[in-house]
Symmetry: C2
Subunit: 402 residues, 2 copies
Amino acid sequence: MRSAQLSDVRQQNYSTIMRELMRSGPTARTDLASAIGMSTGSVTRLTGALARAGLVKEAAEPAPRGMGRPKVPVAIDESTYGVIGVHFGLHRINTCLIDLRGQLVAELPATERTTNLKPLLRGAARSVRKMIDSHGLTVLGVGASTGGWVDSSSGQVHTQPVLGWQEAPLAEALHDLVGLPVLVDSQVRALALAEHWFGAAAGVDNFIHLFVGNVVGAGFVFNGSPYRGAHSAAGGLDHLPVTGRSGQTCVCGSRRCFAMVAGDLETARRARAAGLITDDQEVYDVFALAVAGNPQARRLLQDRAGVVGTATATLIELLDPELVVIGGGVSAPVDHVAVVRDAAQDRLAASRGGDATARILASAFGPHALGIAAGAIMLDAVYRSPEAFVPALTATASDPGH
Amino acid sequence: MRSAQLSDVRQQNYSTIMRELMRSGPTARTDLASAIGMSTGSVTRLTGALARAGLVKEAAEPAPRGMGRPKVPVAIDESTYGVIGVHFGLHRINTCLIDLRGQLVAELPATERTTNLKPLLRGAARSVRKMIDSHGLTVLGVGASTGGWVDSSSGQVHTQPVLGWQEAPLAEALHDLVGLPVLVDSQVRALALAEHWFGAAAGVDNFIHLFVGNVVGAGFVFNGSPYRGAHSAAGGLDHLPVTGRSGQTCVCGSRRCFAMVAGDLETARRARAAGLITDDQEVYDVFALAVAGNPQARRLLQDRAGVVGTATATLIELLDPELVVIGGGVSAPVDHVAVVRDAAQDRLAASRGGDATARILASAFGPHALGIAAGAIMLDAVYRSPEAFVPALTATASDPGH
DNA sequence: CGACTTATCTCTGCCTTGAAGATAAATATC
DNA sequence: GATATTTATCTTCAAGGCAGAGATAAGTCG
């Protein structure tokens, strides 16, 4: 619990203006003032400071309509600053530079044999340095994501089973190498933030991102902020019991754990059992068959989507989100979100009669957008506290300018 | 999204001081300043205004120790204001007056034959009026709770299955009758707020209140604020699938719905099947047997506690709370929370190895505290925005006083 | 070309905080 | 017992923030 100060007001008002501009696009100062309930004088002063800092700009005015002085829209300036996202996957590190609107400016995918933290970090830092200032954007910071249990407040990766990391000080180590602010979070929460800022959940304050792939997990945004739990461990779905189907026996002893029923491994296992793929093929080959039109493969994936639907219904009943975004193999490359939606609605209709349901949408990003999502971690921070990450803003704040 | 103002700063600082005093008990101004990061001058000014308004008072100073001027502790003044809570149950309306520390000042239980909204409201309003100002406390407002789907933002009860209400404008109707601010919320969320302010979860910012009784449901407090979901429907557990045991077939078609396996009805059914109680007896009679030491009854309730434990594990994995508070028939009159704890830890240990678990505690309130919990709805609002509910505070704010 | 309309900018007043100094009330020391 | 010391609390003052009123700018309409 911390007491509030005057500077908090200014900080929050900067943030409110930036978020409103992100949400609504170019907006005249007058409209901005009435949208956020601020005096026009304050809007002028604050947008002035934001413009001098390079965060907003006056957009091209549309054909002036009606009487009076024409509106001059103010918009996010995406040409000054950028943020970098780094995603650490198995044998794959994806580094992206995105602008303040979330648009991809540059990408630098890399494959790595090792899973050791040190060499991976050195490689990532090299990619980051290569990107800094080489695309005309001043980089404000780096967001890093990976799977497993990631603590965003301490910057530590407690456990990352796929890469075998334990208590890895990811944020600190990367900061030492690149000299920029570094924020870390889990892959699923990064995806949720990306959806929140410039994806399917743009402007939605209560939603769940449900990721189903080689790992399963949920990312929560509650009341407009990411919810991470008391130990940054929120979002675990591995052992969520599902109804209607059972899979292999889980380490916990149950045969109805969501991960064991709907995860990629089980899908691949069932495809093998059905003779669809060979022993050394993986779930991606099932996707390929489905894309090619193989009916058995399609049925298998639809089946899985049905299970995801019942789990979605459980989450909707429990957490009452406005929206559930489905990511991972259920939404791409073959989009089975309609199956998820039907299965979820079926279950909810039986119990609730259709009241208080949530929209269910496919992720706005393809499977290769994990780097962009990592950047969203940093972008989120910039929009929440602009002064903390844009030095030029505090410098020009009190300057009356011209 | 609304912009911030200077008055928001003052409001929040009032709130921060009140909450800190509630959390830590009587505190000297200096200690208060360092605890919340405020200058001592501001603490003096704000506590002065709070004291003139009757919200805080200078407490009796303890034996002065050490050198220097002795500290003068400031404490919540519980002798000026109170809030009233009204809980609408089946055939039972419980009206309570509590002071600012949550202590019960007066209680007025009433039994009612009807379940119709109008006569129940008239009866409740009579009880409320009887309490107002008759105990030396100025009543700041009324909190009302009931089961079912209650929308706290609109004040509507969408559906209340036990009483048969549909779209009942509870807040507005009660406000018209008593002329005080009225806030409503669901019974489970009210219990969660009570635990948060003066119960087992005092000072805990991320926790879940899990209620298992004739109805089941969860109340969430995330990041220090109640989370109600997009349509005020969060907390539904009825159809949460549970592992290890199945019950009667639910309306949704599954036999593993939490409500059907762990609810009071199933417990009573199993007790009947075992010959423990007769057809016209209920779950309370099973409790009575267990209290009397009947081993079969105890085993039955322990069994149910085990199921609650697995559901608790699911919630902990999904939402990573710091604490889970167990309320309803599992914690009273026979406390089986230890069984819940063991069952939950068992399941979590298999999957997580004991990391990031949550404490599990019994509710601090007996089964008859629903009225107090309803009052907590109003108390929460007063602590969050004192100026909105205490007119004397705004009146004396700028007064330099003496 | 002048009147009108609307958007934006400038200026003033009020409010709130933080910091420093003044005051108060106890103990420690001679 | 008188004085110094220590710590808590109160008072004063300057800086910084927003709202609202008025001034200015940049169009359209007749």
